[in-house]
């Protein structure tokens, strides 16, 4: 045995130190809107829909907007959606089977007037394969305002942020219940648009009750930044949305909407559900 093996493992800067810090910036469309709503004393509602999951998905997109969403998150389907639970996995499969690609989803979006800012949610491999610069420009042409790339942590995100910034795409980063507060501070400095507070340790999907961690993570984020903080993952009912909004600036609801689309709720059914979320967080 070697006497002092530890000598071969010198202390290194922690990876978190490599996070690109950005102190001052011009807030983009999303952040400006969210701040405006907050200043008005209102909570924000962000709803998720998987692009290309049904023939009428663009109608549903508009129904979500009519129902009172402030932001719509549009999924671009990926074969291996690591952070998604069964509902969004199934929606990805349906969209892929129907022939959806990043290009078709973006092209279709650009044909409608959503009325609210749109954020793309997808996985990093699709951006890499499409080319970071090309994908950012394509999003911009499709009037996309932001991106959420869950498998792209701050340490690896510099190349994408460069392109996204250049095309006016606000890249939203995640803070989780397990994120240490120092790291949360650095993430909040780098994120654009808002901070995605991961409400529960787990994959996307509906839960019976709002996790205790949802309020904790929002409180942690709000102690280190004044950027808008939205809670997502595991927020599925109007009551849970209202609960999360007792602290956070808003909520993100995904699987509960996607499931309704899969069950055939159609544009009117989805609009009704979104309105119930809206009413709950406004009351």
């Amino acid at each position: 045995m070697v006497a002092d093996i530890s000598a071969s493992f010198p202390a290194r800067p922690s990876p978190a130190d490599q996070i690109v810090a950005r102190s001052a910036h011009d807030p983009g469309t999303i952040e400006t809107r969210l701040r405006f709503w907050r200043d008005e004393g209102r909570k924000s509602l962000c709803c998720y829909l998987m692009g290309g999951m049904s023939r009428d998905w663009l109608d549903i997109l508009q129904a979500i907007s009519h129902g009172g969403a402030n932001i719509i998150e549009v999924g671009i389907p990926f074969s291996d959606p690591m952070i998604d639970g069964p509902v969004i996995q199934a929606a990805s499969r349906m969209a892929l089977d129907a022939g959806a690609t990043p290009a078709t989803v973006l092209d279709e979006i650009s044909r409608v007037e959503a009325g609210v800012p749109l954020v793309v949610m997808t996985y990093y491999n699709l951006l890499l394969k499409g080319g970071l610069s090309r994908m950012a420009k394509h999003m911009s042409r499709a009037s996309i305002s932001g991106s959420i790339i869950p498998d792209l942590p701050p340490e690896e995100s510099a190349p994408w942020i460069r392109e996204a910034d250049g095309s006016g795409i606000e890249n939203v980063m995640l803070v989780a219940p397990t994120t240490p507060v120092d790291r949360a501070r650095r993430i909040c400095e780098s994120t654009r648009g808002f901070v995605y507070c991961v409400g529960t340790m787990g994959v996307t999907g509906e839960r019976d009750s709002l996790s205790r961690t949802a309020r904790e993570v929002a409180a942690k984020v709000m102690s280190v930044t004044d950027k808008p903080a939205l809670v997502g993952i595991g927020v599925s009912t109007p009551a849970q949305a209202a609960g999360a909004c007792s602290i956070a600036d808003g909520v993100i609801v995904g699987s509960a909407i996607v499931r309704r689309v899969m069950e055939g709720a159609g544009a009117s059914g989805v609009e009704k559900f979104v309105r119930s979320l809206r009413d709950a967080i406004d009351s």
């Binding site: 290194r12 922690s14 990876p15 291996d80 491999n125 942590p153 995640l174 803070v175």
Partner: protein
């Protein structure tokens, strides 16, 4: 340093890294820190080596293949990981990870498995350490490897069928990662190969490097201080190959990894991100991951460990392929010439050597092949294939 410590970012050139959602970041960092400290701790090393020798049967022998060598015209030495407990090299990795999990205070292991060998090894380690064990396995692989499913259950593990995607190894990894996101406080993800987010590719290579270290010394003893001219191992995620190459990286030996023709991430893939790592990946023009296709469930993986992608880019190792047909021939050849029934995965390495002897490999060369596992698990499947059942 090639095959050294990849540093805090876990990078091998442009490959590797840690592409995981934020909820898993803390778990990956905790694991890296714990492994660094354990690996530098003599007591940990001593405990590990004791279990590997007293329980897992190390060191495994190096066997000279007299009849096969004569038949193909190159001198073939086999590193006999098939003789390790549970029948493959996978045990080296899981004993290390289970010992680490215990040190970290984790009481539950989750694992993914393709052929079932890593699942069996993980279930074994869980039994040994008194831990709960859940193994995710693609539905298709469950059908191909019924016996290993039963083995895992006998060992007290729960096998959860994975019905998503291609229903093979790739999807089992997704499912294990999804489990880990919600359980990482109590659970260690015992990943089975040199893939995934940092620190896995590095940690698993370190834990498997015992294959290369032992076999280098065994070769030197047999070859009067010389190293073999060629060192060959099969590659799924690449753990037995990485462990083998680690022992020979600073020798002049030619290093060859053999992938399944239908899962050849180096030959047919392009850089991409899957399962937390940047590496070569089989994918379509829009970036959707393609399904690998091989008779051997353990090589049915569309990616490859990031360090292999790096070694390939440097030209320090080369990556070749073997097809299903020649693998079956090699499976029988080794059985009949040497009395050793290899795992279908390992038969890929034998197939490449017997095909390339006298071509890529000059006649008279000495070739060390890592026989990563034994073929008992494959006998039923091969019987059906050979009898046209």
């Amino acid at each position: 340093m090639v095959m050294g410590d990849p540093g805090p970012g876990g990078k091998y050139g442009e490959y590797g890294g840690r592409f995981v959602p934020e909820p898993l970041m803390a778990a990956c960092m905790e694991l890296e820190e714990s492994f660094r400290s354990a690996w530098a701790d003599e007591t940990f090393r001593f405990q590990l080596n004791t279990i590997l020798s007293d329980y897992a049967g190390r060191p495994t022998p190096l066997t000279e293949c007299r009849r096969l060598s004569q038949r193909v015209g190159v001198r073939i030495l086999l590193k006999r990981e098939d003789l390790a407990h549970t029948g493959s090299h996978k045990i080296n990795n899981v004993i290390g990870q289970a010992l680490l999990a215990e040190r970290m205070g984790k009481k539950r292991l989750v694992a993914e498995t393709g052929a079932g060998q890593h699942g069996v090894a993980a279930a074994t380690a869980a039994a040994l350490f008194g831990m709960e064990c859940v193994v995710y396995m693609g539905e298709l692989d469950i059908m191909r490897q019924e016996l290993n499913v039963f083995r895992m259950e006998l060992l007290g593990a729960e096998v959860r069928p994975v019905k998503s995607g291609s229903r093979t190894l790739k999807d089992a990894v997704n499912e294990a990662l999804r489990d880990w996101v919600s359980t990482c406080e109590t659970t260690h993800y015992c990943l089975g190969s040199v893939m995934g987010p940092h620190p896995y590719p590095w940690m698993v290579r370190e834990l498997q490097s015992i294959i290369g270290e032992e076999s280098r010394e065994q070769c030197r003893q047999l070859l009067h201080g010389l190293d073999p001219d060629w060192v060959v191992a099969c590659v799924g995620g690449g753990s037995n190959a990485a462990g083998t190459f680690a022992g020979f990286i600073s020798t002049t030996a030619n290093l060859v990894g053999v992938e399944a023709a239908g899962g050849a991430a180096i030959s047919n893939g392009v850089p991409g991100v899957l399962h937390g790592m940047m590496s070569n990946l089989l994918q379509d023009d829009t970036g959707q991951v393609l399904e690998a296709q091989s008779i051997s469930a353990g090589l049915d993986y569309p990616g490859i460990g990031p360090e292999h992608a790096f070694l390939a880019s440097l030209g320090r190792a080369r990556y070749e392929t073997a097809g299903d047909g020649e693998v079956l021939v090699a499976f029988k050849l080794l059985a009949q010439m040497e009395g050793i029934i290899p795992a279908l995965e390992s038969a890929h390495a034998i197939a490449w050597v017997s095909r390339e002897a006298g071509k890529t490999i000059p006649f008279g060369s000495t070739v060390m092949v890592t026989l990563s596992g034994r073929g008992d698990k494959d006998v039923a499947q091969v019987k059906d294939l050979l009898r046209g059942g």
